[in-house]
Protein backbone atom coordinates (compact mmCIF):
# COMPACT_ATOMS: atom_id res chain seq x y z
CA UNK A 1 0.00 0.00 0.00
CA UNK A 2 2.83 2.30 0.90
CA UNK A 3 4.22 1.97 -2.62
CA UNK A 4 0.78 2.85 -4.09
CA UNK A 5 0.73 6.04 -2.03
CA UNK A 6 4.22 6.86 -3.28
CA UNK A 7 3.02 6.34 -6.86
CA UNK A 8 0.03 8.62 -6.17
CA UNK A 9 2.45 11.17 -4.78
CA UNK A 10 4.24 11.25 -8.15
CA UNK A 11 1.21 13.08 -9.54
CA UNK A 12 1.88 15.89 -7.07
CA UNK A 13 5.50 16.48 -8.09
CA UNK A 14 5.37 19.79 -9.94
CA UNK A 15 1.57 19.72 -10.30
CA UNK A 16 1.24 23.29 -11.53
CA UNK A 17 0.39 22.21 -15.07
CA UNK A 18 -1.90 19.30 -14.25
CA UNK A 19 -3.80 21.24 -11.57
CA UNK A 20 -3.68 24.69 -13.12
CA UNK A 21 -4.39 24.20 -16.82
CA UNK A 22 -7.94 22.80 -16.42
CA UNK A 23 -8.94 25.78 -14.28
CA UNK A 24 -7.29 28.21 -16.66
CA UNK A 25 -9.18 26.75 -19.61
CA UNK A 26 -12.54 26.66 -17.84
CA UNK A 27 -12.00 30.18 -16.48
CA UNK A 28 -11.62 31.48 -20.03
CA UNK A 29 -14.71 29.56 -21.16
CA UNK A 30 -16.63 30.87 -18.14
CA UNK A 31 -15.60 34.47 -18.82
CA UNK A 32 -16.78 34.17 -22.42
CA UNK A 33 -20.11 32.74 -21.26
CA UNK A 34 -20.59 35.49 -18.68
CA UNK A 35 -19.88 38.12 -21.31
CA UNK A 36 -22.29 36.55 -23.82
CA UNK A 37 -25.03 36.17 -21.20
CA UNK A 38 -24.66 39.78 -20.12
CA UNK A 39 -24.62 41.10 -23.68
CA UNK A 40 -27.45 38.97 -25.07
CA UNK A 41 -30.82 37.83 -23.73
CA UNK A 42 -29.51 34.22 -23.58
CA UNK A 43 -30.43 33.86 -19.92
CA UNK A 44 -34.07 34.66 -20.48
CA UNK A 45 -35.09 31.47 -22.22
CA UNK A 46 -34.46 27.77 -21.51
CA UNK A 47 -33.05 28.42 -18.07
CA UNK A 48 -29.76 29.81 -19.40
CA UNK A 49 -28.30 26.41 -20.24
CA UNK A 50 -24.60 26.36 -21.25
CA UNK A 51 -22.32 23.40 -21.96
CA UNK A 52 -19.21 25.46 -21.33
CA UNK A 53 -18.24 23.53 -18.22
CA UNK A 54 -17.46 20.59 -20.52
CA UNK A 55 -14.18 22.42 -21.19
CA UNK A 56 -13.10 21.58 -17.64
CA UNK A 57 -13.97 17.91 -18.02
CA UNK A 58 -12.22 17.56 -21.36
CA UNK A 59 -9.09 19.35 -20.20
CA UNK A 60 -8.86 17.06 -17.17
CA UNK A 61 -9.27 14.10 -19.54
CA UNK A 62 -6.31 15.33 -21.59
CA UNK A 63 -4.25 15.85 -18.42
CA UNK A 64 -4.82 12.20 -17.55
CA UNK A 65 -3.91 10.99 -21.03
CA UNK A 66 -0.58 12.73 -20.45
CA UNK A 67 -0.24 11.44 -16.92
CA UNK A 68 -0.05 7.97 -18.44
CA UNK A 69 2.01 8.77 -21.53
CA UNK A 70 4.51 10.96 -19.66
CA UNK A 71 4.46 9.88 -16.05
CA UNK A 72 4.28 6.11 -16.55
CA UNK A 73 7.59 5.80 -18.44
CA UNK A 74 9.20 8.01 -15.81
CA UNK A 75 7.68 6.08 -12.91
CA UNK A 76 8.86 2.80 -14.40
CA UNK A 77 12.31 4.32 -14.78
CA UNK A 78 12.18 4.81 -11.03
CA UNK A 79 11.25 1.16 -10.48
CA UNK A 80 7.51 1.48 -9.91
CA UNK A 81 5.59 -1.53 -11.18
CA UNK A 82 2.86 -0.93 -13.73
CA UNK A 83 0.22 -2.22 -11.34
CA UNK A 84 1.35 0.08 -8.56
CA UNK A 85 1.44 3.06 -10.90
CA UNK A 86 -2.07 2.21 -12.04
CA UNK A 87 -3.43 1.85 -8.51
CA UNK A 88 -1.69 5.05 -7.41
CA UNK A 89 -3.15 6.87 -10.41
CA UNK A 90 -6.63 5.46 -9.70
CA UNK A 91 -6.35 6.58 -6.08
CA UNK A 92 -5.28 10.04 -7.15
CA UNK A 93 -8.10 10.09 -9.72
CA UNK A 94 -10.77 9.35 -7.12
CA UNK A 95 -9.34 12.08 -4.91
CA UNK A 96 -9.32 14.54 -7.77
CA UNK A 97 -12.86 13.67 -8.87
CA UNK A 98 -13.98 14.38 -5.31
CA UNK A 99 -12.04 17.63 -5.24
CA UNK A 100 -13.53 18.77 -8.56
CA UNK A 101 -16.99 17.69 -7.34
CA UNK A 102 -16.67 19.85 -4.23
CA UNK A 103 -15.26 22.81 -6.16
CA UNK A 104 -18.02 22.65 -8.75
CA UNK A 105 -20.71 22.22 -6.05
CA UNK A 106 -19.42 25.38 -4.37
CA UNK A 107 -19.53 27.22 -7.68
CA UNK A 108 -23.08 25.94 -8.29
CA UNK A 109 -24.11 27.25 -4.88
CA UNK A 110 -22.66 30.65 -5.72
CA UNK A 111 -24.31 30.52 -9.12
CA UNK A 112 -27.71 29.88 -7.57
CA UNK A 113 -27.24 32.53 -4.88
CA UNK A 114 -26.35 35.19 -7.44
CA UNK A 115 -29.19 34.41 -9.84
CA UNK A 116 -26.81 32.91 -12.38
CA UNK A 117 -24.03 35.49 -11.99
CA UNK A 118 -26.56 38.22 -12.48
CA UNK A 119 -27.43 37.00 -15.97
CA UNK A 120 -29.46 33.86 -15.46
CA UNK A 121 -26.47 31.72 -16.47
CA UNK A 122 -26.54 28.06 -15.52
CA UNK A 123 -22.89 27.26 -16.20
CA UNK A 124 -21.37 24.89 -13.62
CA UNK A 125 -24.17 22.32 -13.54
CA UNK A 126 -26.17 22.59 -16.76
CA UNK A 127 -29.59 20.98 -17.22
CA UNK A 128 -30.09 17.65 -15.44
CA UNK A 129 -26.70 17.89 -13.70
CA UNK A 130 -28.09 20.40 -11.23
CA UNK A 131 -29.38 18.58 -8.15
CA UNK A 132 -31.01 19.60 -4.89
CA UNK A 133 -28.48 19.21 -2.11
CA UNK A 134 -24.82 20.17 -1.84
CA UNK A 135 -23.74 16.59 -1.15
CA UNK A 136 -25.64 15.26 -4.16
CA UNK A 137 -24.16 18.06 -6.27
CA UNK A 138 -20.64 16.95 -5.27
CA UNK A 139 -21.47 13.48 -6.58
CA UNK A 140 -23.42 14.64 -9.65
CA UNK A 141 -20.50 16.84 -10.72
CA UNK A 142 -17.75 14.50 -9.47
CA UNK A 143 -18.94 11.19 -10.91
CA UNK A 144 -18.87 12.42 -14.53
CA UNK A 145 -15.40 13.79 -13.79
CA UNK A 146 -14.32 10.34 -12.64
CA UNK A 147 -15.63 8.91 -15.92
CA UNK A 148 -13.74 11.51 -17.97
CA UNK A 149 -10.57 10.84 -15.96
CA UNK A 150 -10.68 7.09 -16.51
CA UNK A 151 -11.46 7.51 -20.21
CA UNK A 152 -8.32 9.69 -20.32
CA UNK A 153 -6.32 7.05 -18.46
CA UNK A 154 -7.65 4.39 -20.82
CA UNK A 155 -6.67 6.45 -23.88
CA UNK A 156 -3.22 6.97 -22.39
CA UNK A 157 -2.82 3.24 -21.80
CA UNK A 158 -3.84 2.44 -25.38
CA UNK A 159 -1.36 5.01 -26.68
CA UNK A 160 1.42 3.73 -24.45
CA UNK A 161 0.75 0.10 -25.27
CA UNK A 162 -0.03 0.25 -28.99
CA UNK A 163 1.42 3.61 -30.02
CA UNK A 164 -0.08 6.07 -32.46
CA UNK A 165 -1.71 3.25 -34.42
CA UNK A 166 -3.52 2.18 -31.27
CA UNK A 167 -4.86 5.67 -30.66
CA UNK A 168 -6.19 5.91 -34.22
CA UNK A 169 -7.59 2.41 -33.90
CA UNK A 170 -9.36 3.43 -30.69
CA UNK A 171 -10.88 6.50 -32.35
CA UNK A 172 -11.98 4.56 -35.43
CA UNK A 173 -13.23 1.65 -33.33
CA UNK A 174 -15.27 3.94 -31.08
CA UNK A 175 -16.78 5.71 -34.06
CA UNK A 176 -17.69 2.41 -35.70
CA UNK A 177 -19.15 1.09 -32.44
CA UNK A 178 -21.37 4.09 -31.77
CA UNK A 179 -22.26 4.40 -35.45
CA UNK A 180 -23.18 0.73 -35.55
CA UNK A 181 -25.30 0.99 -32.42
CA UNK A 182 -27.19 3.99 -33.79
CA UNK A 183 -27.78 2.22 -37.11
CA UNK A 184 -29.05 -0.78 -35.17
CA UNK A 185 -31.36 1.36 -33.05
CA UNK A 186 -32.66 3.13 -36.16
CA UNK A 187 -33.17 -0.19 -37.96
CA UNK A 188 -35.09 -1.54 -34.97
CA UNK A 189 -37.06 1.72 -34.92
CA UNK A 190 -36.20 1.90 -31.21
CA UNK A 191 -35.17 5.52 -30.66
CA UNK A 192 -38.43 6.16 -28.81
CA UNK A 193 -37.76 3.29 -26.41
CA UNK A 194 -34.21 4.57 -25.81
CA UNK A 195 -35.55 8.02 -25.02
CA UNK A 196 -38.18 6.53 -22.73
CA UNK A 197 -35.54 4.44 -20.92
CA UNK A 198 -33.42 7.51 -20.26
CA UNK A 199 -36.40 9.58 -19.13
CA UNK A 200 -37.42 6.82 -16.73
CA UNK A 201 -34.04 6.88 -14.98
CA UNK A 202 -33.66 9.07 -11.96
CA UNK A 203 -31.36 12.06 -12.04
CA UNK A 204 -29.07 10.27 -9.62
CA UNK A 205 -28.76 7.29 -11.96
CA UNK A 206 -28.00 9.51 -14.94
CA UNK A 207 -25.53 11.85 -13.29
CA UNK A 208 -23.95 9.57 -10.68
CA UNK A 209 -24.71 5.91 -11.34
CA UNK A 210 -24.03 5.73 -15.09
CA UNK A 211 -20.82 7.81 -15.06
CA UNK A 212 -19.47 5.86 -12.08
CA UNK A 213 -20.28 2.59 -13.85
CA UNK A 214 -18.58 3.83 -17.02
CA UNK A 215 -15.51 4.83 -14.99
CA UNK A 216 -15.36 1.37 -13.44
CA UNK A 217 -15.76 -0.45 -16.76
CA UNK A 218 -13.03 1.63 -18.45
CA UNK A 219 -10.77 1.22 -15.40
CA UNK A 220 -11.15 -2.57 -15.47
CA UNK A 221 -10.70 -2.69 -19.25
CA UNK A 222 -7.49 -0.67 -19.28
CA UNK A 223 -5.76 -2.52 -16.46
CA UNK A 224 -4.74 -5.57 -18.54
CA UNK A 225 -3.41 -3.15 -21.17
CA UNK A 226 -0.99 -1.48 -18.80
CA UNK A 227 0.50 -4.79 -17.66
CA UNK A 228 2.50 -5.26 -20.85
CA UNK A 229 3.54 -1.66 -21.43
CA UNK A 230 7.25 -1.30 -22.16
CA UNK A 231 8.46 2.18 -21.22
Amino acid sequence: MNRVLQAARLHLVNPLVSLGIPWLVVAISFAINIAVWHLTPAGEDDGGFSGGVLALYITVLVVYVQSVTHLLPFAMGLSVSRRTFYLGTALFAVGQALYYGIAIAVLVAIENATDGWGAGLSYWAPGPFEVDTFLLQVLASGAPMLAFIFVGVGMGVVHQRYGQAGTWGLIIGTTVLFGGVSILVTWLDAWASVATWFSEQSTATLTIGLPAALALVVALASFPGIRRVVP
Binding site: H70, F74, L78
Partner: protein, 312 residues
Protein backbone atom coordinates in the same frame (compact mmCIF):
# COMPACT_ATOMS: atom_id res chain seq x y z
CA UNK B 1 29.71 -20.29 -16.67
CA UNK B 2 27.00 -20.48 -14.04
CA UNK B 3 27.85 -19.20 -10.61
CA UNK B 4 26.37 -20.39 -7.34
CA UNK B 5 23.16 -18.62 -6.40
CA UNK B 6 24.56 -17.67 -3.01
CA UNK B 7 26.87 -15.04 -4.51
CA UNK B 8 24.62 -13.97 -7.36
CA UNK B 9 22.35 -10.92 -7.16
CA UNK B 10 20.83 -11.78 -10.51
CA UNK B 11 20.49 -15.14 -12.17
CA UNK B 12 19.42 -15.52 -15.74
CA UNK B 13 18.54 -19.06 -16.71
CA UNK B 14 18.03 -20.20 -20.29
CA UNK B 15 16.40 -16.94 -21.26
CA UNK B 16 15.18 -16.44 -24.81
CA UNK B 17 13.63 -13.18 -25.91
CA UNK B 18 11.97 -13.14 -29.30
CA UNK B 19 10.52 -10.04 -30.88
CA UNK B 20 8.28 -10.33 -33.88
CA UNK B 21 11.06 -10.23 -36.43
CA UNK B 22 14.17 -11.34 -34.60
CA UNK B 23 15.58 -13.13 -31.61
CA UNK B 24 17.27 -10.66 -29.27
CA UNK B 25 18.48 -13.21 -26.73
CA UNK B 26 18.95 -16.88 -27.41
CA UNK B 27 19.09 -19.29 -24.47
CA UNK B 28 21.18 -16.98 -22.30
CA UNK B 29 22.33 -18.32 -18.96
CA UNK B 30 24.43 -16.10 -16.76
CA UNK B 31 24.51 -14.34 -13.42
CA UNK B 32 25.55 -11.01 -12.00
CA UNK B 33 27.68 -11.44 -8.94
CA UNK B 34 26.56 -9.70 -5.76
CA UNK B 35 28.48 -6.57 -4.82
CA UNK B 36 30.54 -6.54 -7.97
CA UNK B 37 30.75 -4.26 -11.00
CA UNK B 38 29.95 -6.15 -14.17
CA UNK B 39 30.56 -4.76 -17.62
CA UNK B 40 27.95 -5.76 -20.17
CA UNK B 41 29.72 -5.60 -23.50
CA UNK B 42 28.75 -6.35 -27.05
CA UNK B 43 28.20 -4.79 -30.43
CA UNK B 44 25.15 -2.70 -31.33
CA UNK B 45 22.07 -4.90 -31.42
CA UNK B 46 23.79 -7.69 -29.48
CA UNK B 47 20.95 -7.81 -26.93
CA UNK B 48 22.47 -5.79 -24.07
CA UNK B 49 19.51 -3.45 -23.59
CA UNK B 50 17.03 -6.31 -23.83
CA UNK B 51 18.91 -8.19 -21.10
CA UNK B 52 18.85 -5.12 -18.86
CA UNK B 53 15.14 -4.57 -19.51
CA UNK B 54 14.46 -8.15 -18.53
CA UNK B 55 16.51 -7.87 -15.34
CA UNK B 56 14.64 -4.64 -14.45
CA UNK B 57 11.22 -6.17 -15.05
CA UNK B 58 10.48 -3.90 -17.99
CA UNK B 59 10.03 -6.91 -20.23
CA UNK B 60 9.01 -10.52 -19.81
CA UNK B 61 11.19 -13.17 -21.45
CA UNK B 62 9.67 -15.37 -24.14
CA UNK B 63 11.05 -18.31 -22.18
CA UNK B 64 13.42 -18.94 -19.32
CA UNK B 65 13.64 -17.39 -15.88
CA UNK B 66 15.09 -14.23 -14.35
CA UNK B 67 15.71 -14.00 -10.63
CA UNK B 68 16.75 -10.79 -8.90
CA UNK B 69 17.57 -11.30 -5.21
CA UNK B 70 15.72 -14.58 -5.49
CA UNK B 71 12.45 -13.42 -7.08
CA UNK B 72 11.15 -12.55 -10.50
CA UNK B 73 11.37 -8.76 -10.95
CA UNK B 74 8.35 -8.44 -13.26
CA UNK B 75 5.65 -6.39 -11.49
CA UNK B 76 7.19 -7.28 -8.14
CA UNK B 77 7.46 -4.08 -6.10
CA UNK B 78 9.43 -5.61 -3.24
CA UNK B 79 12.20 -6.49 -5.71
CA UNK B 80 11.83 -3.47 -7.96
CA UNK B 81 12.44 -0.98 -5.16
CA UNK B 82 15.91 -2.50 -4.82
CA UNK B 83 16.62 -2.00 -8.52
CA UNK B 84 17.61 1.23 -10.20
CA UNK B 85 17.74 1.00 -14.00
CA UNK B 86 19.13 4.09 -15.69
CA UNK B 87 18.36 3.59 -19.31
CA UNK B 88 19.59 5.42 -22.31
CA UNK B 89 16.93 7.91 -23.38
CA UNK B 90 14.86 7.85 -20.18
CA UNK B 91 11.77 9.99 -20.72
CA UNK B 92 10.82 12.67 -18.23
CA UNK B 93 7.45 14.44 -18.01
CA UNK B 94 7.43 17.54 -20.22
CA UNK B 95 7.55 20.24 -17.61
CA UNK B 96 9.80 18.44 -15.09
CA UNK B 97 12.84 20.28 -13.79
CA UNK B 98 15.90 18.40 -12.57
CA UNK B 99 14.81 19.05 -8.99
CA UNK B 100 11.41 17.44 -9.71
CA UNK B 101 13.06 14.27 -11.01
CA UNK B 102 15.24 14.11 -7.90
CA UNK B 103 12.22 14.69 -5.63
CA UNK B 104 10.42 11.79 -7.28
CA UNK B 105 13.49 9.56 -7.01
CA UNK B 106 13.86 10.46 -3.33
CA UNK B 107 10.27 9.33 -2.73
CA UNK B 108 10.69 6.03 -4.52
CA UNK B 109 14.17 4.74 -3.63
CA UNK B 110 14.37 3.62 -0.01
CA UNK B 111 18.15 4.10 0.23
CA UNK B 112 18.17 7.51 -1.46
CA UNK B 113 21.14 9.61 -0.37
CA UNK B 114 20.20 13.29 -0.68
CA UNK B 115 23.68 14.53 0.30
CA UNK B 116 25.27 12.42 -2.39
CA UNK B 117 22.73 13.71 -4.92
CA UNK B 118 23.50 17.30 -3.97
CA UNK B 119 27.24 16.83 -4.25
CA UNK B 120 26.89 15.07 -7.61
CA UNK B 121 24.73 17.94 -8.84
CA UNK B 122 27.59 20.28 -8.01
CA UNK B 123 30.19 18.01 -9.59
CA UNK B 124 28.30 17.77 -12.85
CA UNK B 125 27.36 21.44 -12.70
CA UNK B 126 23.64 20.73 -13.11
CA UNK B 127 21.09 23.57 -12.76
CA UNK B 128 18.40 22.18 -10.43
CA UNK B 129 15.64 24.47 -11.70
CA UNK B 130 16.27 23.88 -15.41
CA UNK B 131 13.63 21.99 -17.39
CA UNK B 132 15.06 18.55 -18.26
CA UNK B 133 13.70 18.73 -21.81
CA UNK B 134 15.91 21.80 -22.36
CA UNK B 135 19.14 20.12 -21.27
CA UNK B 136 21.85 19.00 -23.66
CA UNK B 137 22.32 15.29 -24.30
CA UNK B 138 25.27 15.16 -21.94
CA UNK B 139 23.49 16.96 -19.12
CA UNK B 140 20.48 14.66 -19.48
CA UNK B 141 22.85 11.72 -19.14
CA UNK B 142 24.32 13.36 -16.05
CA UNK B 143 20.84 13.57 -14.47
CA UNK B 144 20.54 9.80 -14.96
CA UNK B 145 23.94 9.27 -13.38
CA UNK B 146 23.01 11.38 -10.35
CA UNK B 147 19.80 9.37 -9.86
CA UNK B 148 21.60 6.07 -10.43
CA UNK B 149 24.35 6.75 -7.91
CA UNK B 150 22.24 8.53 -5.27
CA UNK B 151 19.57 5.79 -5.38
CA UNK B 152 22.11 3.49 -3.74
CA UNK B 153 19.95 0.66 -5.00
CA UNK B 154 21.34 -2.81 -4.19
CA UNK B 155 21.18 -3.48 -7.93
CA UNK B 156 22.03 -0.52 -10.13
CA UNK B 157 21.93 -0.96 -13.89
CA UNK B 158 23.36 1.65 -16.25
CA UNK B 159 22.62 1.38 -19.96
CA UNK B 160 25.29 3.42 -21.75
CA UNK B 161 25.09 6.15 -19.14
CA UNK B 162 27.76 8.36 -20.66
CA UNK B 163 26.11 9.34 -23.98
CA UNK B 164 26.97 12.90 -24.85
CA UNK B 165 29.21 13.31 -21.80
CA UNK B 166 32.61 14.86 -22.37
CA UNK B 167 35.78 13.05 -21.29
CA UNK B 168 36.07 15.02 -18.05
CA UNK B 169 32.49 14.26 -17.01
CA UNK B 170 32.95 10.59 -17.88
CA UNK B 171 36.04 10.41 -15.70
CA UNK B 172 34.05 12.12 -12.96
CA UNK B 173 31.38 9.45 -13.31
CA UNK B 174 33.91 6.62 -13.06
CA UNK B 175 35.59 8.22 -10.04
CA UNK B 176 32.34 8.89 -8.19
CA UNK B 177 30.99 5.44 -9.01
CA UNK B 178 34.13 3.80 -7.67
CA UNK B 179 34.27 6.01 -4.56
CA UNK B 180 30.64 5.44 -3.66
CA UNK B 181 30.90 1.77 -4.51
CA UNK B 182 33.80 1.44 -2.09
CA UNK B 183 31.74 3.16 0.61
CA UNK B 184 28.58 1.11 0.06
CA UNK B 185 29.20 -1.95 -2.08
CA UNK B 186 26.37 -2.98 -4.35
CA UNK B 187 25.75 -4.82 -7.55
CA UNK B 188 26.41 -2.63 -10.55
CA UNK B 189 25.84 -3.58 -14.16
CA UNK B 190 27.11 -1.22 -16.82
CA UNK B 191 26.69 -1.54 -20.54
CA UNK B 192 29.26 0.33 -22.53
CA UNK B 193 31.18 0.59 -25.76
CA UNK B 194 34.04 2.52 -24.17
CA UNK B 195 35.78 -0.62 -22.99
CA UNK B 196 39.27 0.84 -22.61
CA UNK B 197 37.98 3.64 -20.38
CA UNK B 198 35.93 1.46 -18.13
CA UNK B 199 38.16 -1.61 -17.95
CA UNK B 200 39.83 -0.61 -14.66
CA UNK B 201 36.41 -0.46 -12.95
CA UNK B 202 35.17 -3.83 -14.00
CA UNK B 203 35.40 -6.91 -11.88
CA UNK B 204 33.48 -9.08 -14.29
CA UNK B 205 32.78 -9.00 -17.99
CA UNK B 206 29.80 -10.40 -19.83
CA UNK B 207 30.18 -10.25 -23.59
CA UNK B 208 27.13 -11.00 -25.67
CA UNK B 209 26.98 -11.25 -29.42
CA UNK B 210 23.80 -11.68 -31.43
CA UNK B 211 21.89 -12.73 -28.35
CA UNK B 212 24.40 -15.31 -27.15
CA UNK B 213 26.92 -15.27 -24.34
CA UNK B 214 30.41 -15.15 -25.81
CA UNK B 215 32.38 -14.54 -22.67
CA UNK B 216 31.46 -14.53 -19.00
CA UNK B 217 34.48 -14.19 -16.77
CA UNK B 218 36.21 -12.07 -14.16
CA UNK B 219 38.54 -9.43 -15.55
CA UNK B 220 41.45 -10.65 -13.44
CA UNK B 221 41.59 -13.93 -15.31
CA UNK B 222 40.94 -12.23 -18.64
CA UNK B 223 43.87 -9.92 -18.23
CA UNK B 224 46.16 -12.89 -18.59
CA UNK B 225 44.18 -14.94 -21.05
CA UNK B 226 45.44 -13.74 -24.43
CA UNK B 227 48.56 -12.31 -26.01
CA UNK B 228 49.19 -10.50 -29.25
CA UNK B 229 52.06 -11.91 -31.28
CA UNK B 230 53.64 -10.07 -34.15
CA UNK B 231 56.12 -11.23 -36.77
CA UNK B 232 56.54 -12.49 -40.33
CA UNK B 233 53.28 -13.88 -41.68
CA UNK B 234 54.43 -17.46 -42.20
CA UNK B 235 55.94 -17.73 -38.75
CA UNK B 236 52.87 -16.24 -37.05
CA UNK B 237 50.58 -18.53 -39.03
CA UNK B 238 52.61 -21.55 -38.05
CA UNK B 239 52.51 -20.43 -34.42
CA UNK B 240 48.77 -19.72 -34.52
CA UNK B 241 48.04 -23.18 -35.88
CA UNK B 242 49.51 -24.73 -32.78
CA UNK B 243 47.42 -22.54 -30.46
CA UNK B 244 43.95 -21.11 -30.17
CA UNK B 245 43.79 -18.20 -32.60
CA UNK B 246 41.18 -15.55 -31.89
CA UNK B 247 41.91 -12.97 -34.52
CA UNK B 248 44.63 -12.16 -37.04
CA UNK B 249 45.36 -9.29 -39.35
CA UNK B 250 48.22 -9.02 -41.82
CA UNK B 251 49.92 -6.02 -43.31
CA UNK B 252 52.51 -6.62 -45.98
CA UNK B 253 54.62 -9.58 -44.91
CA UNK B 254 53.76 -9.05 -41.26
CA UNK B 255 50.97 -10.46 -39.18
CA UNK B 256 49.43 -9.62 -35.79
CA UNK B 257 47.55 -12.40 -34.12
CA UNK B 258 45.60 -12.51 -30.88
CA UNK B 259 46.16 -15.93 -29.39
CA UNK B 260 44.60 -17.39 -26.30
CA UNK B 261 47.35 -18.07 -23.77
CA UNK B 262 48.82 -16.63 -20.61
CA UNK B 263 51.46 -13.96 -20.94
CA UNK B 264 54.29 -15.95 -19.38
CA UNK B 265 53.52 -18.93 -21.56
CA UNK B 266 53.24 -16.66 -24.57
CA UNK B 267 56.65 -15.17 -23.97
CA UNK B 268 58.18 -18.62 -23.74
CA UNK B 269 56.44 -20.16 -26.73
CA UNK B 270 56.44 -17.20 -29.10
CA UNK B 271 59.86 -16.04 -27.98
CA UNK B 272 61.21 -19.43 -28.97
CA UNK B 273 59.61 -19.00 -32.39
CA UNK B 274 61.28 -15.62 -32.77
CA UNK B 275 58.07 -13.57 -32.53
CA UNK B 276 57.42 -10.49 -30.46
CA UNK B 277 54.78 -10.76 -27.76
CA UNK B 278 52.70 -8.12 -26.02
CA UNK B 279 49.76 -8.35 -23.62
CA UNK B 280 46.28 -8.01 -25.09
CA UNK B 281 44.06 -5.35 -23.56
CA UNK B 282 40.45 -6.09 -22.66
CA UNK B 283 39.25 -4.01 -25.59
CA UNK B 284 41.50 -5.88 -28.05
CA UNK B 285 40.32 -9.18 -26.66
CA UNK B 286 36.65 -8.22 -26.93
CA UNK B 287 37.09 -6.94 -30.50
CA UNK B 288 39.01 -10.07 -31.47
CA UNK B 289 36.36 -12.36 -30.04
CA UNK B 290 33.47 -10.46 -31.61
CA UNK B 291 35.20 -10.40 -35.01
CA UNK B 292 36.08 -14.06 -34.73
CA UNK B 293 32.46 -15.08 -34.36
CA UNK B 294 31.30 -12.88 -37.21
CA UNK B 295 33.91 -14.33 -39.57
CA UNK B 296 33.02 -17.83 -38.42
CA UNK B 297 29.42 -17.05 -39.20
CA UNK B 298 30.38 -15.73 -42.60
CA UNK B 299 32.53 -18.70 -43.56
CA UNK B 300 30.36 -21.38 -41.99
CA UNK B 301 26.83 -20.05 -42.01
CA UNK B 302 25.36 -23.40 -41.05
CA UNK B 303 27.75 -24.08 -38.18
CA UNK B 304 25.99 -25.14 -35.01
CA UNK B 305 25.74 -22.08 -32.83
CA UNK B 306 26.63 -24.07 -29.73
CA UNK B 307 30.25 -24.29 -30.86
CA UNK B 308 30.60 -20.56 -30.34
CA UNK B 309 29.66 -20.80 -26.74
CA UNK B 310 32.36 -23.31 -25.97
CA UNK B 311 34.93 -20.62 -26.55
CA UNK B 312 34.16 -19.21 -23.15
Amino acid sequence: MATGTTTAAVTVHDVTMRYREHTALDAVTTSFEKDAITGLLGRNGAGKTTLMQLVSGHRVPTSGSIRVFGSSPYEHDAVLRDICFIKEGQRYPDHFRISDALTAAAVLFPNWDADLAASLMRDFDLPAKRNIKKLSRGMTSAVGIVIGLASRAPLTVFDEPYLGLDAVARQLFYDRLLADYAESPRTVVLSTHLIEEIAPLLERVLLIDRGRVLLDADTESLRDSAVTVTGPTDKVQAFARRHELLHAESLGGHMRAVVRMGEAQGHRAAGAAGLSVEPTSLQQLIVAMSLQTSTERASRPLAPAASLEEVS
